[in-house]
Each structure stands twice: as structure tokens, then as C-alpha cells.
Symmetry: C2
Subunit: 373 residues, 2 copies
């Protein structure tokens, strides 16, 4: 259930000063005690760093559609990033994760503080969960507030808040579905793609793209086209992230390549593999907490041999092509800017892989996938 | 950590039609699947029923301050109620509660759904927690959105959103502190009162009162006076609720009178008792999950005998008097309306108690309390 983290090639690691600083400075005037201060500091730290491709997608699209108030675009971009932070924090509580990007997240910081005053492991965990829920709440409410007070014209604010509401519903439904399929482990490929669309494409792609169009007061047909661009691009991004999670190099993705396999994450890659004749051989490696590096090499070989890797690569290509086709229907300058962003977010070339390729093994699951994609 | 539930004497159990219906109808157009539909229905059910004294406090104060747009006041009142629902839902996740007002809450509904498809108890619980976090998120974002789109003049919306932000920070800090003091069980009376102020008085009293003044475009001195009214009234309400939780009749409070004692809730009543000479005798009854009705009778006798009950009753009277004094500084019509509300929310007379009173035992803890209150 982790949020997509594929490398974008170009990192924008510092938040735009204005809106971000204003938000956290305003919050600092409200703090009531030391614990509250630590909560706020931890929240601020979690909004910094990261790839910040959402504000970039928003501001570039906005400018390409003729928008001239980059400060306004940056404010909405910060709100989207704050929403992302809220989702990540609540996602970590739901998943029971205490670490994010190699450092303690909200739950990690606060469960340690509880342990330091002698709380049992269970109670410390509960305190960490409470802090995570509350910090996420502050970020979420902050995101809606920042949009409402962005200074955009009133009619634009209404449209932005409507878009935000739609995205919130989809994200919640996607997160819920993601937890649900992990209960039974029998998700279909259609389920997995719907979850990726609701949980990732909606807020990370459709929201910044469509917010940019609404801000630039582009026509309804542009806003509608960007919904399709966001859907295809978001799905391609998520599926590429799933591939990177298993086949990527740690230097490139920043993720331990054994992590997704150990967790048994219900990705498109695994779902396709489950429908193939090699699944019985592969299954013991998936979701094995004690998976060894040698076991992971074997699992990767099997994911290639059963055709799942090629099938998902093909889906990425198709979704990328669908995004490009939808982009070509946009005004020229916007199309040019977005084609650049596609290359940045879903590079055309497959990432380096750590195992030898099985040249003849790439067709197994492909028919299944095309049927469902 | 449960939210205050003292009977108000006058119940307003049906939400004002307009804003409430519009919000849930708009949400229904966003649903993506059956599970999402159940989430939304459960959320709507949880916003209905209850005492709804916050919208009442807001609309009466608004009218008394000369406000004439009752529909607008009702919309903001619904937003406050939605915020309350969000807090209650997240509070239940934090406390691990699956029932609210005798019916399954969000976590209860969704953990049962998971169990029905064969999930283990732990996984079903995790699914219920996820649903609770997500439903609370939708309610919280909805509350901010409803204020932003209420149709109030733009400058009023800004002031309302600033008030809301302040209240959100305090509520989060209060909830966090509430979980924290339960870790060590050594909260001082000052801690307990600060938690009640941040966690209950801020959003349930200061928010509706001050929002009413902002909406009615009352002067800054009125808004400031209402902060003090809300603080005193909210604390009095919470302390009365704590007394009712132990000494009240179930017919009157709707709460099992053994519940707070069994849970070992860190209330002002218990905190005062802890500082008295009878604590060693009382302690075994507090936080005893298997407390019997006979044990509860003995615990109540000891809470009276040690002076804790009288001390907290005295604090309620003092806080009530402070609220009344602050109210008398308001314009006449507003003062009259609020004095009525004080009688409704914190009735002057002590509720019926189920044990015999110990006439001579009421002075033990009082000095401590006055010092801290």
C-alpha cells in the first residue's frame, strides 16, 4: 500500500518557499505544548524532500495553458503536496509502518517518545498511531484550507474544491480497496488497476493536471482531456513503480528491491504471475518475510519466465501511448510541456535489471493483461 | 478519551435538512463501488442522532447577535457537527472502540465485513481501522469545505477558516495529550483541565460560539469574550460529564455508569481522588475491567468520602459562574440567549446519584482543586 515512489530522473527536493513556509509558520503560532511542537516539526519534515513531481506537473501545465500567476500555481501545488503528505502519513498508520525514507515517520517518532517514558510496546504503538492520525488530519485540513484561501477567483476556488472532493473520495475508496484485497489475496488484475487509478492516478496525476487547467481557466474539453491523461499516466507510473520495486536497482529507486516481494504486495506484476503456470513455483517467494537475496534472484527469474514482467512492461507502454494520444489533443504548448513530463515520469526505457533476461519467455501472461487493461 | 456526552435536557436529534442533505447527496455522486457506498452510508448515519447542541449553540448565538441568515448559520453548524463526527470516528480508532451509541461504528461495520469473508481477527481489525481513518478524513475535509463554500462573505470565510484552524490544532494537541497521560497514568489536575480545554471546549464550545459572532459580524470584543465563555462553559460541561459518567443514572445519561470506572478514565474526578488519603482503598476499583456493580457502589462511596466528588462539583459551579460572568459582558440579547444555553448544557442542579451521600466528607480534596482550577 505504499505510495508510488518511482524515480523521476529530475528531482525538485525543495518546496516552493512562499505557500509552504507560510503554512508552517502559521501553524507554529498555534502550538500549545512541546509535544504539539514535535508533531508539527515532524509533519513539516515529512513534507520536505521527496520528489515533488506533483507541484512541478501542476506549474508546468498551468504555464503551458497560458497561466501567468506562478505564485498562485505554487500555492495550489503546495496544497496537493500537503494532501500527499496526509495520505502517506495515514497510509503508514494503516500499514503499521514506522519508517519513511529511512527515517522515523510520525508513528516512529511518537512511539519512541512513549517507549522512552516506559510505555509498553503496545501502548507506545498506540500513541504513535494516534500521532499519525492527528498529524495526517492537520495536513489534510491544511490542504483544503490552502486551496480555499489561495486567492484564486471565487468561481475557480469552487471548481478546485469540487475537484479536490472528487479526488478525496476516490483516494479513500482506493485505499480501502487496497487493504481489502490484502485480506483475501485474490484480487483480479481489474481490481489492482482500479486501485491504482483511484489511489494513485486520481490525486497524484489527475488532481495537479486538472487543477492547472481550472486555474488557467482552460475550457471544459481541456479539463476533460486531462482526466484521461492523468488516468493513463498515473497507471503507467504506478505499474513502472511496481516493476522497479522488484527489478530496480536500489541506487536508482531508493527502495530495497526485496521489500515488495517480502511484503507480498498485491501488484499488477504479482497478479499477472498468479494466473500463469509458474505460480506454484513462485508463490513461496512472495510474501516470505525471510526472503534471501538468492531467493529474490529466483523469484525475479520466475517473474520473467512466466511472462508477467513482459506483460506489465507492455501495459506500461500501452498506457504511456494512451497518455501521449490524449496529450496530442491538447493545445500545442500544453502538449509539448506534458510530453516532456511523460518522459520524466515514465521514461521510455526499461530500468536496468539485476538478472539475466530470458529472451523467449515474454509472452505468457500477455493475453490476460491486454484483456484487462 | 470518549467525547463528552452529558445529556443537555433538550435534544435536537434531526440535522437541519439543507446543508446536511446537500453534503451527503453530493458525496453519493462520487461513490466508486459498493464498499465506498457502505462507508458513506455509515458516515451519514454517524452524523445523525446525537444531541446536536453545537449547531443549536451556534444558531441561537448568531440570532441573538443580530444575524438574520439562519440558513447560513445552519450550514456552518452542520460543518461543526461534521467536524465533531470526524473527531469521534478518529477517536474511536485511537481508542480501539467498535461501538458508538450502542451500534457498530465505522470500525465495527468494516471489521465485521472483513470477518465475514474469512479474515483473521487482526486483519479484520486493521481493515476496520483503515475504514475509520478514511471515513474520518472525508468528514474532516468535508467540514473545511462546507465552511469555505458556505456562501458567507469572503472576509468572513477567511476569519472562519482561521478560527477552524486554531481549533483543529488545539483538538489534535488535546487528543494527543489525552492518549499520552493514559500511558503513564500520572496526569496532574492541570493536565486534565488543559486536555478538556483543548479537546472539548475548543471545538464544541469556542468554535460554535465564536463562529456565530464572526458570522454575525460582531465586534472583536464579542469574539474575544466568547472565547472565555466557551472555555469556562466547555470545561464545566466536561467535568459535569465526568461526574455523570460515574454518578449518573443510565436512563438520564445513556451511558453505562460502570464504563468510565472500568476503563480507568483519567478524569478530573479520579485525578483529585488520587491526591487524597483514600486513594489506596479506591485504586483497585479504578480501571478494573471486571468491576462489579457492588464494587462500583463502593467506588462511588469512596469518591464521595475522599471529597473528590464535592471538589469537582465545586469546580463545575465555579466554571459555570465564570461563564455566566463572561456572558454578562455581552450585548443583552446575546447574554439572555446564552444564559438559557448555560442552563441547558450545565444544569444548575446536581444529577440524581445512586448512592447515599456522606454528609461530612465533602471537603477533602477541595483545596487542591481550587489551587489548580
Amino acid at each position: 500500500m505504499s505510495t508510488a515512489t518511482a524515480a523521476t530522473g529530475e528531482h525538485v527536493t525543495q518546496p516552493a518557499g512562499g505557500a509552504h513556509e507560510r503554512f508552517f509558520a502559521a501553524g507554529r503560532t498555534q502550538l500549545v505544548d512541546e509535544h504539539d511542537r514535535v508533531l508539527w516539526q515532524t509533519l513539516q519534515r515529512l513534507t520536505e524532500g521527496g520528489k515533488r513531481f506533483r507541484p512541478l506537473l501542476l506549474s508546468r501545465t498551468y504555464a503551458a495553458l497560458g497561466g501567468e500567476d506562478q505564485e498562485l500555481a505554487a500555492t495550489i501545488g503546495e496544497a496537493v503536496e500537503l494532501l500527499h503528505t496526509a495520505f502517506v502519513i495515514h497510509d503508514d498508520v494503516i500499514d503499521g509502518d514506522l519508517v519513511r525514507r529511512g527515517r522515523p515517520n510520525v508513528g516512529g517518532v511518537f512511539s519512541r517518545r512513549a517507549a522512552a517514558v516506559g510505555a509498553s510496546q503496545e501502548r507506545a504503538r498506540n500513541y504513535g498511531d494516534a500521532a499519525g492520525i492527528l498529524a495526517g488530519d492537520l495536513a489534510l485540513a491544511g490542504a483544503v484550507r490552502e486551496v480555499a484561501l489561495s486567492g484564486a477567483p471565487p468561481a475557480v476556488v469552487v471548481r478546485l474544491l469540487d475537484l479536490l472532493e472528487r479526488v478525496l473520495h476516490r483516494s479513500a475508496a482506493g485505499e480501502l480497496a487496497d487493504v481489502r484485497v490484502s485480506l483475501t489475496g485474490d484480487a483480479s488484475l481489474a481490481d489492482v488497476l482500479a486501485i491504482a487509478e483511484w489511489k494513485t492516478a486520481a490525486y497524484s496525476f489527475q488532481l495537479p493536471l486538472q487543477a492547472a487547467a481550472i486555474l488557467a481557466q482552460a475550457g471544459d474539453e481541456v479539463v476533460a482531456a486531462l482526466e484521461e491523461v492523468g488516468r493513463s499516466l498515473g497507471l503507467a507510473f504506478q505499474l513502472r513503480d511496481d516493476l522497479d520495486g522488484v527489478f530496480g536497482e536500489v541506487e536508482q529507486t531508493g527502495k530495497d528491491p526485496l521489500c515488495d516481494l517480502r511484503e507480498g504486495k498485491c501488484t499488477a506484476l504479482i497478479t499477472v504471475a498468479r494466473s500463469t503456470h509458474l505460480w506454484d513455483e513462485l508463490a513461496p517467494y512472495v510474501g516470505a518475510p525471510d526472503l534471501t537475496p538468492e531467493g529474490a534472484v529466483r523469484a525475479r527469474e520466475l517473474l520473467v519466465a512466466c511472462g508477467a514482467r513482459a506483460a506489465v512492461e507492455a501495459m506500461v507502454s500501452e498506457l504511456r501511448a494512451a497518455a501521449v494520444a490524449a496529450i496530442r489533443g491538447l493545445p500545442c504548448a500544453a502538449a509539448d510541456a506534458l510530453l516532456e513530463m511523460v518522459d520524466l515520469l515514465v521514461p521510455r526505457h526499461t530500468p536496468a535489471v539485476t538478472i539475466r533476461e530470458h529472451a523467449g519467455a515474454a509472452s505468457g501472461g500477455r493475453q490476460d493483461v491486454r484483456g484487462a487493461a
